[in-house]
Symmetry: C3
Subunit: 456 residues, 3 copies
């Protein structure tokens, strides 16, 4: 059996890449066109001022989001001692594929008219957001799935993400700029249900590789820090221009400072000897960005952002310490990166915070800006209370799509020809990568002599 | 005694985090409000064009500054072989705390009206600047202070930073956009005086850890390069819009190229065998950004920027080679990162350069732009010479605040319950962090076998 | 002989740095002035609105390009196990020098009037582009040249780059915004011809160092990912404002996703056992950015961008697998980083794609935007076919300049006092850098025990 998967893999991954690329290219040729701000003829037809091109309002934020997806997520997952190539490499592959596929899936639902999908900088941001959700799910199954499985997962998840997003934003009129629901809650529970279906009772066999070494933890901090600094751009990238983007960035900034402080406090408190745990710092400190994903465009107030961030950092750190083990032992969910703690719980909290802040919205607090944040309330089609109920409903819709989609995905990924790594070869780059020095190294030294910088 | 600090630490760090977070949250709730450009009602009240929102002029620069603080400073200090977790982790903690606290301290002094502090993107930039000063001071005491000490240092330094900044910019009418005085000179001498008070005569016991390994030097270069590329944004982030930001970025760019060339030249010259020293490249090459912090918004000319950068790189490299040892042996100042060479001397040089360029300011050279750069000179309230004298005075005020503040801070940080690391455990992550593989590693190999990639 | 070079180097590198810095500073003093948008008097003279300052349209893109040059190129070349200091350090030195020198060379040719060179944000972008070409050439000779040689190479290459660029863009009216020809083709073939002249028949002696270790490959991925995410800014930084920048960024984004998918597919296909090769992922995945350098500002269509990226990733991966060995054995070109695969072939393909897309340009497709993309066609001075012929001619001019320049450079770099590393000391940091722990390490362990994280 050891040889069959390898021969399979030799064809499955390339075939999947080539087939999916062929299909998206064909669909692009038929359906995808430049939008009004991107097309030479259309833009110049209206005698527009260049200052007004959407590009100048959104492209800097887009680039920050782009850095979060590829640098942030990619390196955050490099913490495993022998899975760095796969973490950053599969992030690269899966995200690149998702960007194409999400342009189509979201395009058909959001910007399809006159028989064409019209793309511009907002398409890029939305596609990156979808890639964010897929990478969150990847975090749950990191080390236990091969690249062909991940591509299939992305294929399915992108479709469901787009449908869920469409239902929330377009049909239900839910507000969720930074995606507490559509990105974090969806991505986390999709990944967790998927991981549940792929449960490995024999994962012990690879447990010695499921930890970090000194330098892999430093690489992971690159991911953490890039996610942390650019999160204000993430939440504000798709919001209304002007005060909307400005306020969203500000709220996210304060929320993240608070989640950082609570994470350090809790990490020291829950450890036996008062020392800090890198896993908490790398992850839970980011929960402040997740928890204001829905509400940061609203009049949350700087204090509100801070309180939310504090709570999220606390819940997330406690989750890593106390809930992750239970999740595996009781619920048979093996969550490699702890996405339940960083995206799942803070995402749900963020959705609930959005319910609360929407419920509190008044004409007095928002003035004419109410039109931008809650257009249906501003035009009198809904009361603030009604908006809050829709927000809550949106969360349950998201949980439903994520759990069903993740379960379905799990069964799909169990297809035997997808070349899943064996239980004894999880968290191991050599299964999928040519690793430098593997021959010499294998012959030479015993396992776990590989922490070169940590001995006293 | 070995057990008492650990029990202390278990409570001191979390308590400090929670108390300070509680206090800032309370003050935020009472005092901090969105400003006119961030508030939904206020922004829409005036029928503003979104193009005019300050966000679009300053947010991209802010993000670059944000990257410098967390990626740049954080990774620059990772050069120590066994202190990477602390370098990047404590940078994270201390900067996050400072961002909150500086919003308040600077807000009360700069943007307090009608009983409230009004925040927007400029508040974010200013808070990040204050965090920069605190991290410079951190560089002086790196490896010799625990996180609780650093939080207290940040608490004190932020207040003094804000007062000094207020005196210079608001009371004295001094120009210092990129902070040669307010950030670099202040941060460096605060840290150096603090380090003087905390002088450890027995630091030899930890000397074997006070050096780099091959990969830690590469991590540090991540910090260097991010600081280098984004420094034009740092100096230009708070300057006047239009030509002001444009010119500042340009001057900083040229100054940095020159400090890089002089650093390479001098590093090879002063070494015994013509080889380059990573310490110089990682640090002194950045001195060009520091030295034009005051003058880059002025009509410095590209040549002037280049000459200044060249001088700064030279002085800084010579400082690392010849002055740092003297600083420790004669002045009993142990300056781990050599902040005196990168921020202290170039900061003072930058202040003096500002004196010179202000003195040379004429209506002819600045035209109507004089109003933006030297408003008091443009309106005739001051002559250029008088402005130059004020600039010089501002430097001495800064040195005074920094030296007194740093000394005070040093005595504060000697409070015994703050859990300073013992002399034999400086520059060591394991004191404050759970380090992967420490048990196996400790049992296994002798000290300093940890340079795995450098042996021939 | 072993001692003479070291004594030489002690003077050659510093002297070259100081001389070149002195010369550029002098030329800056005489010739370089702020342009209309950077000068306080000139900008305020016209009563301009700050919104219109070029700074706000181009500075965010410039910063992305700046990150690509220093972070992207610098770290991409860190993949060698013992050459990380040199890769990132010499990138730093050579690029800093080139930025100064290119400001002059390009300034004399492009923005010289009234006896002065006028600089602004576009000068910064153009200088960074020139540095990109120089660093591509550096990639071909990486590990086999000392810093003094590299400075001389940059001196010569910058001049030829600027002349070639001037001929193409100004004399021939060729379009090449993202530099498929002027940057990638020029830089690659300059480097390859230079490497041909510097051919080392005894390079086997250093072959054991010409490979990666586990963590050096992860550092290289930092370079890859930063190049990948910011490439849309690279191609769009100098294009026309409005739809031009917008479309260029969009096309580049889609092209890169396709080259990533084809690289993963081909890498797995061409390996013996279906496993992926880090060399391909680190490099060939970027070919999509190169291949649309000329055409991404044109009406390429998203599908066209995708098809081009797919082709480039394929050609590039096949090049690494099959052509690089032939290049060395048959053509005696030792191409350390495989720049022929990443920049050479995709650059030529990109030039040809530009020929095709220019040939297809119609008034109907571009509307009034034709004026921005093909001004000579819009004004009737040329037909689209004629523009296509000029584009093709531009490619041959570039190949001519690159091959002659590279050959000339090769003979120049063979000057004996430039201290080239001996055949047995190539790809080795210790020749030019003080490396931590070298004494202990040398005494201690055999070669190639240095892959600490890859043994099972």
């Amino acid at each position: 059996m050891a040889r069959t998967p390898r021969r399979h893999r030799r064809l499955v991954l390339p075939l999947l890449c080539l087939l999916s690329q062929g299909a998206t290219a064909l669909l692009f040729a038929i359906f995808v066109r430049y939008n009004h701000e991107t097309d030479a003829a259309l833009w110049h037809w209206g005698n527009n001022s260049n200052v007004d091109n959407e590009f100048y309002f959104r492209y800097p934020s887009f680039q920050d989001v782009h850095a979060m997806i590829f640098v942030g997520f990619g390196f955050l997952m490099v913490f495993l001692q022998r899975y760095g190539f796969s973490s950053v490499g599969f992030t690269f592959l899966v995200a690149a594929f998702t960007l194409q596929w999400a342009t189509l899936a979201q395009g058909f639902l959001h910007s399809f008219h006159d028989g064409h999908i019209h793309v511009g900088v907002e398409s890029l941001i939305n596609a990156d957001f979808c890639a964010g959700a897929v990478l969150i799910s990847f975090g749950a199954v990191l080390g236990k799935t091969g690249p062909a499985q991940l591509l299939l997962m992305a294929l399915l998840e992108t479709v469901l993400f787009s449908v869920n997003e469409f239902i929330l934003l377009s049909l239900l009129g839910v507000r969720d700029a930074g995606g507490s629901m559509t990105i974090h809650t969806f991505g986390a529970y999709f990944g967790l249900f998927l991981s549940r279906v792929l449960y490995r009772s024999q994962l012990e066999k690879s447990r010695q590789r499921q930890s970090s070494v000194y330098h892999s933890d430093l690489f992971a901090m690159i991911g953490t820090v890039f996610l942390w600094i650019f999160w204000p751009s993430f939440n504000s990238a798709p919001t209304e221009l002007g005060d909307g983007q400005h306020r969203t960035a500000l709220n996210t900034y304060y929320s993240l400072t608070a989640s950082t402080l609570s994470t350090f406090a809790l990490s020291a408190l829950v450890s036996g000897d008062g020392r800090l745990d890198m896993v908490h710092i790398q992850n839970a400190a980011l929960a402040g960005g997740v928890v204001v994903g829905t509400s940061s465009e609203m009049m949350l107030t700087p204090f509100g952002a801070m309180a939310a961030g504090f709570l999220a950092g606390t819940v997330s750190t406690l989750g890593y310490k106390f809930f992750t083990p239970v999740l595996e032992s009781k619920f048979k969910v093996q969550d490699t990166c702890g996405v339940h703690n960083l995206h799942g719980m803070p995402g749900v909290l963020g959705a609930l915070l959005g319910v609360l802040v929407a419920w509190l919205a008044t004409h007095e607090a928002y003035g004419d800006g109410l039109q931008s944040v809650f257009p249906l309330v501003a035009t009198g089609q809904r009361s603030a209370t009604s908006q809050a109920v829709y927000q809550l409903f949106g969360m349950f819709v998201t949980l439903g799509f994520a759990s069903m989609g993740g379960s379905l995905g799990g069964f799909l990924l169990r297809l035997p020809f997808l070349d899943s790594p064996p239980d004894s070869q999880c968290f191991e780059d050599q299964v999928y990568w040519e690793v430098p020095g593997e021959q010499e190294a294998e012959a030479q030294r015993p396992l776990r002599a590989e922490e070169p910088d940590t001995q006293a």
